[in-house]
């Protein structure tokens, strides 16, 4: 076991650099998922029927097709066909972001639907357009309600990011595998990788918990 321990210690700097790649993928994907998921959710809740159908299809597609299939479909298929030469990192992040947008749209949708109907009515009664009402009244409240849902989504995206190795993204899992192939210390190295994921989950969820407390409306109970 000491051999394994030595292998882990030696590989640690290399694997930690991989965690930066993982963090990059996760943050990029969560950010993209947020900036896409919000308009998707607004469309789902307040959009006309045809738009709801299109968004419904989007959500159905990205939730239904396995991650690996989507990665290959976009990286080798769609992006190449469109003539966009994304790096594996960018492509992996974008695909994870598109998937996360589908899931996040459901989080936001639930949050919006849970707001009392009177909020929108009061905004309209003041003479706000629907766009303003959504922007200034609905979204600020819905986003606050969505923070707990993000914790969940974060840990899922974090773990999904490991699959981007299939495209050649040198994140934690890829690096662990490389080192193991050279040193034949698979078990200790994978245990170390697992611990890194657990730590990142812990830190992320803790961070979101702090965020949740910070944006909580005083006196308001969820």
């Amino acid at each position: 076991m000491t051999e394994g321990f030595v292998a882990v210690i030696n590989a640690l700097p290399y694997m930690l650099k991989g965690s930066l790649v993982t963090i990059g993928v996760v943050f990029g994907a969560m950010g993209l998922g947020l900036s896409l998921g919000v308009p998707l959710a607004v469309g789902l809740v307040y959009g006309p029927g045809w738009l709801r159908k299109i968004i419904g299809f989007y959500v159905w597609f990205f939730r239904g097709v396995p991650l690996l299939v989507l990665l290959f479909l976009f990286y080798f298929g769609l992006f190449s066909w469109m003539g966009i030469n994304f790096s594996a990192f960018s492509a992996g992040t974008i695909v994870l972001g598109l998937i996360s947008a589908a899931y996040q749209s459901q989080i936001f949708r639930g949050a919006m639907l849970s707001l009392p109907e009177g909020q929108l009515k009061a905004a309209r009664a003041l003479g706000m357009s629907d766009v303003k009402a959504i922007l200034f009244i609905i979204l600020p409240q819905a986003l606050r309600l969505s923070v707990p849902g993000w914790s969940n989504e974060y840990s899922i995206v974090l773990k999904d990011s490991a699959v981007t190795y299939a495209l050649g993204v040198a994140e934690i899992m890829a690096r662990t595998h490389f080192v193991a192939s050279r040193t034949y210390q698979h078990l200790p190295l994978y245990i170390a990788a697992g611990m890194m994921y657990l730590l990142m989950t812990y830190i992320g969820v803790k961070g979101l918990r702090i965020l949740e407390k910070n944006v909580r409306i005083p006196g308001y109970s969820y």
Binding site: A125, L126, K132, Q141, G219
Partner: protein, 255 residues
């Protein structure tokens, strides 16, 4: 002087609304003159709330016309609709304060986002409106930190900040504990004293009789009878009105 103006500020004609098979409003017409206070009474489910929401198109009527200061409102035109709603203050039964904003921000947001007022003036105006309803010291509190009566006063301040030409009040005190009703009534009385034009639905018959220029008794989507408080409350022509008034006066006396 204002009360001598004979042109109605708000005129509603032949408003109809059905939800599914159920006809809630069966072709109602009414008008409110400048400085006039009209109070709608009648049993729950009689369409009072729907009528008020139809007037500023929060509920779109199936049929009928609404006029503000002699102009017919074309609610299909968004710009016209939004401009119209700014001039009609709405007070809801359950307050509908924006939960994520402080009392001051609640009053301020319409000024900044709708009237495009600069932040400093909007802040001043909002603070002034909060003072007017006696909540200056609660400006930084969130709705969840306020009592029901305070919330309703904030919502009145929010409506007042927009300089409405007419206010629609949908049972403003019916969601309040009895001991909190008084503070809201005081604010409304103050508004009336300052000449605000109002259309209010309420169950507080005693309060209504003091304030109202006219009381409208509404039942099953129709106006059954309307007239000065003394006539409706003491000398109603219609038996249904009599029964209702007797019941509700009795209840108020109890509490």
């Amino acid at each position: 002087m204002a009360r001598t103006d004979n042109n109605p500020v708000l005129k509603v004609e032949n408003v109809r609304k059905s939800f599914g098979d159920k006809e809630i409003l069966k072709g109602l017409s009414l008008s409110v003159k400048k400085g006039e206070v009209k109070v709608i009474i009648g049993p729950s489910g009689g369409g009072k709330s729907t009528l008020l929401q139809c007037i500023n198109f929060l509920v779109v009527p199936d049929e009928g016309e609404v006029w503000l200061e002699g102009r017919k409102i074309n609610y299909a035109k968004k710009r016209e609709l939004y401009a119209y709603r700014q001039q009609v203050g709405m007070i809801f039964q359950d307050f509908n304060l924006f939960d994520h904003l402080t009392a001051l921000e609640n009053v301020q947001i319409g000024l900044v986002r709708v009237k495009k007022m600069d932040k400093v003036s909007a802040h001043e105006r909002a603070a002034a409106e909060l003072r007017r309803v006696g909540l200056a010291e609660h400006a930084g509190h969130y709705p969840a930190q306020l009592s029901g009566g305070q919330k309703q006063r904030v919502s009145i301040a929010r409506a007042l900040a927009m300089d409405p030409k007419v206010m629609l009040l949908d049972e403003p005190t019916s969601a309040l504990d009895p001991e909190l009703i008084g503070e809201v009534h005081a604010v409304i009385k103050d508004l009336v004293a300052n000449g605000m034009t109002m259309l209010m639905a309420t169950h507080q018959i005693g309060f209504a009789s003091v304030l109202a220029d006219e009381i409208i008794f509404m039942e099953d989507g129709c106006i059954v009878e309307q007239g000065p408080p003394t006539q409706i409350l003491l000398n109603a022509q219609c038996t249904r009105t009599k029964e209702f008034c007797a019941k509700i006066t009795h209840l108020s006396a109890d509490s």
